[in-house]
Amino acid sequence: MFWIELAFKSLLNRRLTVMLTALSIAFSVALFLSVEKIRTDTKDNFSRTLTGTDLVVGARSGSLNLLLYSVFRIGDASNNMSWESYQELSADPAVAWSVPISLGDSHKGYRVIGTTKAYFDHYQYGREQNLAFKEGQSFDQLFDVVIGSEVARALGYPLNQQLSLVHGTGAVSFSKHDDLPFKVVGILAATGTPVDRSLHVSLQAIEAIHLGWKDGVRLQGAEGFSPEKNQKLQTETITAALIGMTSRLKTFNFQRKVNDYTDEPLSAIIPGATLQELWSMLRVLESTLLSISALVMVSGLLGLLTVVLAGLNERRREMALLRALGAPAKHVFSLLCGEAGLIALVGVVVGVCLHYGLMVALAPALLDRFGVLLNISMLAPYLFLWLGLYVLLAAFLGALPALRVYRQTLNDGLSQRI
């Protein structure tokens, strides 16, 4: 009891340096935890960009390519698939649902997706979450558009905003569909997926704006779409399709069926597996974040070591004095070690609190700006292990100078060489 009281008073006497040390450890722990959290959640988000969909079907191409353009809207499809093939495949009894996707147009750099209303029912992300409408509802009329959260935020579009699409995917395009304006009828809630950066219209709308076009250019003298004439809007090709199976077990059979489809060359990919494959290509990013975390932790420990070393002269007198009063050497030694451990422990606890505060404060901004959905939850077990090891390491580092003083005290005895 006396020793604890003495240690406490000694710490209190040096409260400024002790607090600063604990704070520097707290900051490094909070930074480490936050970087780690963002790393794992980004990875998690990424691999959960598309869930609930068992297969993505498109024209024959590499699986990464198909995933990139159909899910991430990066790059373009080399080929389309025919509407007939899509109809035939989705009629298979193993298929529970299917959603067609038609790409190729954009609005101010954001991709436009022609699809059906089923898209909003079946597209799932994260832990099988469905898309939700923040405002408005699904498209109903031919020239209705549903926009993702980032599109709405970045372009400042409210409901009923008029906008026109351009042909192609560049931010600047000379092939505009400006004769046929769309109206925003729905704004989706943020998801942390590429859906946030997309505009959704019906397949018929895609057909309508391309009436009188061929190969991406408006035909001279050809008749465009006009609402008065009751033109037939029949979809002939789509870019890809999302497929849900009646049972997961049927996925592989159906995938083989698509890959062996004889009428036209098609590919089917399992999104989860391909997403993992894609993430593994981003390992540089992951290891960069990991090394930042590691450096941050090391700098915290160095700070602790600096403070312990700086306070050592003062502590030498204290130790010699306690030894002269008959305190056993091992008591004095454990006083110094325990102190380093205690500072580290306090630092870690404060750091964990700081981390949670930071995450709660940053979560909305991160989702909004970077599309990273933070899942605020209990620390992962491996982090407990890391933090425990960190406290032990800190106590050990604190013990190193303590050991030096201890040896000096044994050698100097009670006489202090200053």
């Binding site: 006497n13 004095l321 002269a324 009063l325 008959g326 305190a327 005895g413 009670l414 006489s415 202090q416």
Partner: protein, 235 residues
């Protein structure tokens, strides 16, 4: 009655050193005796004090402190002997800066039950024992609650003396306690320390390089005559 300190054919060498740092044929301090040990730095006096205090291990020959042969004791037993029976006064930095004057004075009683019981038996309580010593050493009682950092060096050394003397130790080791004081304070401090030791019949081994202090003591021993080792001359 045994002597407080008694050494016969004592020698001590630092590990790895060929020649001994300290070689004493015979030296004793009787109970209640106050001895002035004069020596320059490097004369082996620090080694001698550390051996007597039981902090240094590994001497040859006989070294009895308060009736115990230190060579036969384990480190923990020597720590206990020091806690219960020996008071130690340093040249400076005698006090814990984060404790009050009173808490510093009573520190020895916190570390040793024997010291606390003896203080209580003599004065009724540890606080009363501390106040009695403060009175004797010329410290005002109003200082008791003050932080030691608010005290002058002279007052700090008096607090150190009170701390060493509380709880009835049998031996006080004072290692240059006056070298940080000016002449006027030095004389007063020594007179008060000696008077208190005499009152309480405590043996005092007072070490200093200052030959001007020898007049206050019963007996003066010169370290250069005591230490037969030549190695210190080479330092």
């Amino acid at each position: 009655m045994q002597n407080a300190i008694e050494m016969t054919n004592l020698s001590f060498s630092w590990p790895g050193s060929q020649s001994p740092a300290l070689q004493v044929e015979s030296f004793a301090v009787a109970r209640s005796e106050r001895v002035f040990l004069r020596g320059q730095s490097g004369s082996g006096k620090s080694t001698l004090l550390n051996l007597v205090a039981g902090v240094l291990d590994g001497h040859q020959g006989a070294l009895h402190v308060l009736g115990h042969e230190l060579a036969n004791m384990r480190p923990a037993q020597r720590d206990k002997l020091r806690a219960e029976h020996i008071g130690y006064i340093f040249q400076q930095f005698n006090l814990l800066p984060y404790l009050s004057v009173l808490d510093n004075t009573t520190l020895a009683c916190r570390l040793s039950n024997t010291r606390r019981q003896r203080a209580c038996a003599a004065n009724g309580s540890v606080e009363k024992a501390a106040f009695a010593l403060m009175d004797e050493l010329g410290l005002e009682r109003s200082l008791a609650k003050k932080p030691v950092t608010a005290l002058s060096i002279g007052q700090q050394q008096r607090v150190a003396a009170a701390r060493a003397l509380i709880g009835g130790p049998d031996l006080i080791i004072a290692d240059e306690p006056t070298s940080a004081l000016d002449t006027e304070h030095r004389q007063k401090f020594i007179e008060q320390l000696l008077a208190t030791c005499a009152d309480r019949q405590v043996a005092l081994l007072f070490v200093s390089h200052d030959p001007g202090l020898r007049q206050y003591f019963d007996r003066v021993v010169d370290m250069n005559e005591l230490n037969r080792s030549n190695s210190h001359v080479l330092d």
